[in-house]
Amino acid sequence: MGAFLKVDQISKRFGGFYAVNGLSFELKQGEILGLVGPNGSGKTTCINVLSGIYAADGGTVEFDGKMIHTMPSYKISNIGINRTYQIPKCFHSLTVKENIDVALAHAKHKPQVDPVEFLELQGIMGRNAGTLNTAQQKTLDLARALATGPKLLLVDELAAGLNPEETESMTTKLLHLSEQGVSIIVVEHLLSFVHALTKRVIVMNAGKQIFEGDLESASKDPLVNQVYLGGDAV
């Protein structure tokens, strides 16, 4: 199976600072990729470029045969890439049902799953999103993304703030989506969550890829150890 997503040498600069610098990788349909690295390594910026929040300063992104690196974010959503946010940006003044209805109303693809049933939101459908706790807002954010029927899902720090049971449940759900053919990029600090989801991770530092492979090998990589633990490479 060929690459579904092809990221080639993308860069994003803020002033003179390169948040992402020449990053390249490929992703197959239904594959899960973990994007890990210390704070400020460029993981979220990468997600922001892929989802059209930021325009790339260099490089190309090809998704499902289309070049998307110059598209605005709403068009990227319409062609089947959606995302969740590290800090959920739900419509606080709308109810959970209205939040999901907005996505369903503007979706260009049929959802792979019923987001309400899949994420067990039935009990809070009438509540205003602004009154939900962190875990509930993150779940709603994912439900909203799933309502658009994404072929590629970008999840940013989804496990942060979830308790172990919620994290395990979320792992099962993401694996199910992957089996349904949804490709997923997981940006995460919680490495056990990434480990449960995929064998393939990219470790980033200072905007660049410093390692690609499985987490176990990454933990033995001298450069990865250096950026995570500091000091000399072991």
């Binding site: 989802s51 059209g52 929040i53 605005p72 974010s73 709403y74 959503s77 319409n78 959606n82 995302r83 946010y85 800090i87 959920p88 940006k89 739900c90 419509f91 606080h92 003044s93 709308l94 209205e98 209805d101 907005v102 996505a103 109303a105 503007h106 979706a107 260009k108 205003n128 602004g130 009154t131 939900l132 706790n133 962190t134 807002q137 993150k138 909203r144 993304a145 658009t148 703030g161």
Partner: protein, 280 residues
């Protein structure tokens, strides 16, 4: 009765602020232009102001969309769009006022208050038709606006952008398409409210725009910034307080709404209908 008219006065401003976080300091000037548009249409072609409502809404909505694409996309990309929009639309306000003075002169214009016919009697109470007609038109327009905002797909998109631009874009909503629509509707509503301004607030001249902008701000802050339902509430509070003061303390009437505004800002800065949210 005039509370609903004032709700219409503020609704366009609140819609624009809610969707784009742009402070349209020229809002009152578009009201003033709406008033002059109706006046000129009546004087030259005998077009009834009620008919002018439809014409002006379309013309000013299109004008608003042009203004949007000329200014707003650049504004919202700046670091402080609210402050920049204050300065930019203050300039737009001054330009409109100067052009209106050149075109219409400095004398106030007004309509014959009997043009809509005699007073109507309802529940043993006489209502002057020059206030009843703006009331009915405001009621119909507000109802249509609420149907649009809460029951249609573009309205849902506009509410979504009001909630979060990034989240709305992530839902596949074109921010510029729907923001320009909201901006056009906001300007269109201002012009429509302006059609009836000579009946409700008295004679209109090119400087009236500044006063009308201040009144509009009082209304939307009393209700809640960015909350369309709050605007109706703000309009009612403003209208009732004005009427009460004009009845019992007429010499203080003009400052009463602003005292109310200051009190609300001190006691409840989010507006009477404003509410807090829990952020993750």
């Amino acid at each position: 009765m005039i509370g609903l008219f004032y709700a219409l006065v503020g609704l366009g401003l609140n819609l624009i602020f809610g969707v784009m976080k742009v402070v349209n300091l020229a809002h009152g000037d578009f009201l003033m232009l709406g008033a002059f548009g109706a006046y000129v249409s009546y004087q030259l072609w005998h077009i009834n102001p009620i008919v002018s409502v439809l014409i002006e809404f379309v013309v000013f909505a299109l004008l608003g969309m042009l203004i949007y694409f000329g200014f707003v996309p650049r504004l919202v990309q700046s670091k402080d769009p609210e402050m920049l929009s204050l300065i930019l639309f203050f300039g737009v306000s001054q330009v409109i006022e100067a052009l209106a003075t050149m075109a219409f002169g400095v004398n106030p214009v007004s309509f014959n208050v009997n043009m809509f016919g005699p007073s109507l009697e309802l529940f043993h109470q006489a209502y002057p038709s020059y206030l009843f007609v703006p009331f009915v038109v405001s009621l119909v327009l507000l109802a249509l606006m609420f149907f649009f905002i809460y029951k249609t797909k573009p309205g849902t998109a506009i509410r979504a952008i009001m909630g979060s631009r990034d989240e709305a874009a992530a839902n596949g909503i074109s921010i510029h398409r729907y923001s320009s629509l909201a901006f056009g509707i906001g300007i269109g509503l201002a012009a429509v409210a302006g059609v009836f301004a000579p009946f409700v607030v008295g004679g209109v001249d090119p400087t009236t725009g500044t006063d009308l902008t201040t009144i509009s701000f009082a209304i939307i802050v009393i209700g809640s910034l960015g909350n369309p339902i709050g605007t109706i509430f703000g309009g009612l509070v403003y209208g009732i307080s004005m009427m009460l003061m004009q009845t019992y303390l007429p010499s203080w009437a003009s400052i009463a709404p602003y005292v109310l505004l200051i009190l609300i800002l001190l006691i409840r800065p989010s507006g009477i209908l404003g509410r807090g949210v829990r952020h993750a």
